[in-house]
């Protein structure tokens, strides 16, 4: 093992890791905004609008992301009117092209995830909201959205992990992020194995953090899906003949108990 080489490679790859993170953050954020509009269009109830949204999802889910990226970066430049348009300064930059194509693609996937979440909201709970006099907007904000978000989180976390890995495709439109830099190091050293192992470790660590954060978020937003709160009082009380009780006003005592998630309907 050539530790000096490994350390040197790792150092060079870590130096460009912020670029990978930047690509990822930008594409999932912009993609999230896109997906909210697409979902809204999809469930709008207006036939033309919802069909357009469905077509968007179909196109961006149904074709390879790499081809979408190539079309955007290499393909569009073949048209004179694109090169003369106001968007050209943005589109000619490889980083921007990569962010746009990644965002467009994940926007389609995320829209589908939100739609699944919306469908999983129990109709009864919506009905209870209507019966109590909630307006449509209030119903969406207080009942539907929290429910749908909770239902969508596991799929959403998978999607953003996939997007972390998809940022590697940006290397093919000349963005020198982790994968692109790894390939350049390989072409200089011909040590494919060591360099790619270093790159893989970086992605693993990044995704480990993402997955952990999403688990934490899931845990925080689903107290109602955890185990029944313990009614066991302070040790010794039972022996002393004092009935087990929950102190009024005290928060449920299940925060320390192991997570006990029932099957989430998908």
């Amino acid at each position: 093992m050539d530790f000096a080489f490994l350390a040197d490679t790792m150092g060079q790859l870590l130096a460009v890791t912020p670029l990978t993170i930047e690509l990822w953050l930008l594409c999932i954020t912009i993609g999230c905004v896109i997906s909210i509009f697409v979902t809204w269009a999809r469930v709008s109830g207006v036939p033309v609008v919802s069909q357009l949204a469905a077509a968007y999802v179909f196109v961006f889910r149904g074709s390879p992301l790499l081809i979408q990226m190539f079309l955007l970066y290499y393909g569009l430049s073949q048209f004179v009117w694109v090169r003369q348009s106001f968007a050209w300064p943005i589109l000619r930059d490889p980083f921007n092209s990569a962010v746009i194509s990644l965002a467009l693609c994940t926007g389609g996937y995320q829209a589908e995830i939100w739609r699944g979440g919306l469908q999983a909201v129990p109709a009864r709970e919506i009905e209870a909201g209507r019966a109590i006099g909630m307006s449509r907007l209030l119903l969406l904000r207080r009942i539907i959205a929290p429910n749908a978000l909770r239902q969508a989180l596991p799929a959403y976390s998978t999607e953003i992990v996939l997007m972390m890995k998809s940022t590697a495709l940006a290397s093919l439109v000349t963005v020198w992020e982790v994968t692109g830099t790894a390939q350049r190091l390989i072409s200089q050293t011909y040590r494919t194995f060591e360099v790619f192992i270093c790159a893989a470790i970086i992605y693993l660590v990044l995704n480990f953090l993402v997955i952990r954060l999403m688990r934490l978020l899931e845990y925080m937003v689903s107290p109602h899906l955890r185990g029944r709160p313990s009614t066991v009082g302070v040790p010794g009380l039972a022996e002393a003949g004092i009935p087990k009780a929950i102190v009024p006003g005290a928060p449920p005592e299940h925060a320390a108990s192991p997570v006990n998630l029932p099957e989430v309907p998908r």
């Binding site: 009864r124 009942i143 689903s222």
Partner: protein, 260 residues
């Protein structure tokens, strides 16, 4: 019931409703006065739940009007036939005056019992939260689940969930309470705890419409019994009259069928 007690708390007039060509309600009218406890009985499929759901417009009646405390819900004709609410804001406002309790509780699963109860007063009626919490605690005390205030619905028994749902409806201070088979989804041993709450509410003088299969409740707690058969009111009167042989032939068959 005579009209000499002033404006009816709730008045429905000639309600009709069809689902896919099948007429479920064929023109039902009834007035409920303040303090009336009306049990609505009927075989399954007779249209009694649909009637209740038409009152707060969870189902839009094809024809007929609903009037709550003198205010009639404005309807306009729909192009495809039938009618639809003319003003959704009015519907939302009138719904706040009609407390609905569902067969399967329909509590909001992501909120604790207390959050369920204060949700309407705080977010629909825009009342101060601290005040609502105080009232909610009193209501939970009344229905006997004050110790469960920080529990989520999934952690409660059916009877506890239904009592929480009743507290949620009461928190809106509705003029009329609508109960849609409130004990039908409960295990037999849990029915009693919910019926006790219903009886206590009746004794307070609340105006209540209760779709139920509990003959004991209809006979002993309500002051009026309505028997719905095939989309029409078949018998209507005080329980002693209806159960004492004054009901229709269909009603006698219905009751004897229950005791087989």
């Amino acid at each position: 019931m005579s009209g000499d007690r002033g404006v009816a708390a709730l008045s429905v007039s000639d309600i009709r409703k069809a689902f896919g060509g099948v007429e479920v309600l064929k023109g039902i009218s009834l007035d409920a006065h303040e303090g009336d406890v009306i049990s609505i009985l009927g075989a399954s499929g007779s249209g009694k739940s649909t009637l209740l759901r038409c009152i707060n417009l969870l189902e839009i009646p094809d024809a007929g009007t609903v009037t709550v405390a003198g205010e009639t819900i404005r309807m306009k004709p729909r192009r495809k036939g039938g009618q639809e609410p003319a003003d959704h804001k009015q519907v939302d406002r009138i719904r706040t005056e009609l407390g609905m309790v569902f067969q399967s509780f329909n509590l909001w699963s992501h909120m604790t019992v207390l959050q369920n109860v204060i949700e309407g007063p705080v977010h629909v009626l825009h009342r101060p939260k601290a005040e609502c919490i105080g009232e909610a605690e009193a209501l939970l005390e009344k229905v006997g689940i004050a110790d469960k205030r920080n529990f989520y619905p999934a952690h409660l028994s059916g009877g506890q969930q239904q009592r929480a749902a009743i507290a949620r409806a009461l928190a809106m201070k509705p003029k009329v309470m609508l109960f849609d088979e409130p004990t039908s989804a409960l295990d037999p041993e849990l029915v009693g705890e919910v019926l006790r709450v219903l009886r206590a509410l009746a004794e307070e003088g609340r105006t209540m419409l209760v779709v139920t299969h509990e003959m004991g409740f209809a006979r002993n707690v309500s002051n009026r019994v309505i028997f719905v058969n095939q989309g029409l009111i078949d018998a209507d009167g005080p329980p002693e009259e209806i159960f004492g042989g004054g009901g229709s032939e269909r009603f006698r068959q219905f009751v004897s069928g229950l005791h087989k």
